[in-house]
Symmetry: C2
Subunit: 243 residues, 2 copies
Amino acid sequence: MLKESSVPLYLQVASLLRRRIEVGDWPAGHKIPKLEDLAREFNVARITARQAVSMLHSEGLIWRRQGKGTFVSDSVPDRRWINLASDWPTLLRRLEGTKVKLLSTFDTIESPRLQAGDGTPVEAYHHSRRLHSKDKVPHLLIDIYLDRRVFMKAPDEFKTKLIIPILDTLPGVQIATARQTLTIGTADLEVASLLDIAANDPVVEVHRAFTNEAGEAFFVADLTYRADFIKMEFDLLHGRDVK
Amino acid sequence: MLKESSVPLYLQVASLLRRRIEVGDWPAGHKIPKLEDLAREFNVARITARQAVSMLHSEGLIWRRQGKGTFVSDSVPDRRWINLASDWPTLLRRLEGTKVKLLSTFDTIESPRLQAGDGTPVEAYHHSRRLHSKDKVPHLLIDIYLDRRVFMKAPDEFKTKLIIPILDTLPGVQIATARQTLTIGTADLEVASLLDIAANDPVVEVHRAFTNEAGEAFFVADLTYRADFIKMEFDLLHGRDVK
DNA sequence: CTCAATTTGTTCGTATGTATG
DNA sequence: ACATACATACGAACAAATTGA
């Protein structure tokens, strides 16, 4: 059933139980099965099941009473979500309550990682790295590569504000294509420490590339989100012919 | 640096090294640092670093020669991606090479899990559960709730074909809104065994809901993808005013 | 009030795997 | 290859609190 992985059993079981509470399978006040039953269900020893339940207890998700049972707490804290943009109007909106910290900024002739369809690299980029936080919790790391010629049109603005709204209005800048791809990956050491998560925790990796009329990738950004904060919403009727 | 987690150190280090190869930081033929350097970088013992490197060796990602060094193999197998739809035309396209297995199908008066904006539940649903596989590898589990009245219009078709293309053309069915939300979660025991992954591995959870003119949620689907297979592509210029 | 059943809480002993030096 | 330390996992037994007959 479990096993296969080398994550300790009690952590695996704890995650599965935590999920049942978060998802609502076990609502507030619900009496969870006794240790013997949990042990049988997950095929572990009673003590191991107890260790898993103890984790949820220390997280405040449950309370226990000897001779009575274990119950889901009334106030299960809500998860906070970060909304990920998938269309232009959302990209332009400044996110309320989000603090942006500039980690580094420098010119480079190194090309960003380009994917098929991103266009050809330009001669020199201005590279900057930013960390977005909400309520003091970091949730997004961005590596931005901006064509140096475009950057020089408004260097101060680009350094202090969000890039895309500037690009949207800057005279002389034509956006021919703007594409992004999303994949799920894991955090390496550097990303993990910046986003305050464990190494190898899941992250959402978003790759954005804008091209100009000449087919050059004049803006490329790699965004790395904490996976547990992400929520995306779509209107599926886009592109549908009216019947 | 590492720690925090209770995953064995050598596995954590192995994942981080594997990632460098997959992402392309260490291309084919690249000589990777010697054990002493890896041990220092990750702050582990030399033997632990060696144990991590040995994992990549057994996976065929690297080759080693005493007195020479360790090198990235030439043929690093490509990952196969599943594309996730975010607009209507893509939803209608039948996916090549994808096998769909019907796991269960029955009527129920139980309502599916509805989110804000999904609409009001109808009286009775037809519920079915399907498993999508490609090259014999399962990658997607779907729970579908379809208004029983709609289902009865073409039960045989709905049982054997993809639902959405049928809805698109079925006379008398009006789709007023069609929304989907995407989040990252983890696999519970049941999902893990169906998708052939470990419990608590990351999954992409997609929730789709269609409403009719009366504001009823006549189609609701919960899709669970293996996270490591997912790739989404967006054209960001949707919704942009022409300058 | 007492007793038995139930369920959590605690302790001991042992075996195995991980990590370091 | 070896010695040591530590965490994980199990089984078994017993103690303490709660409930209901």
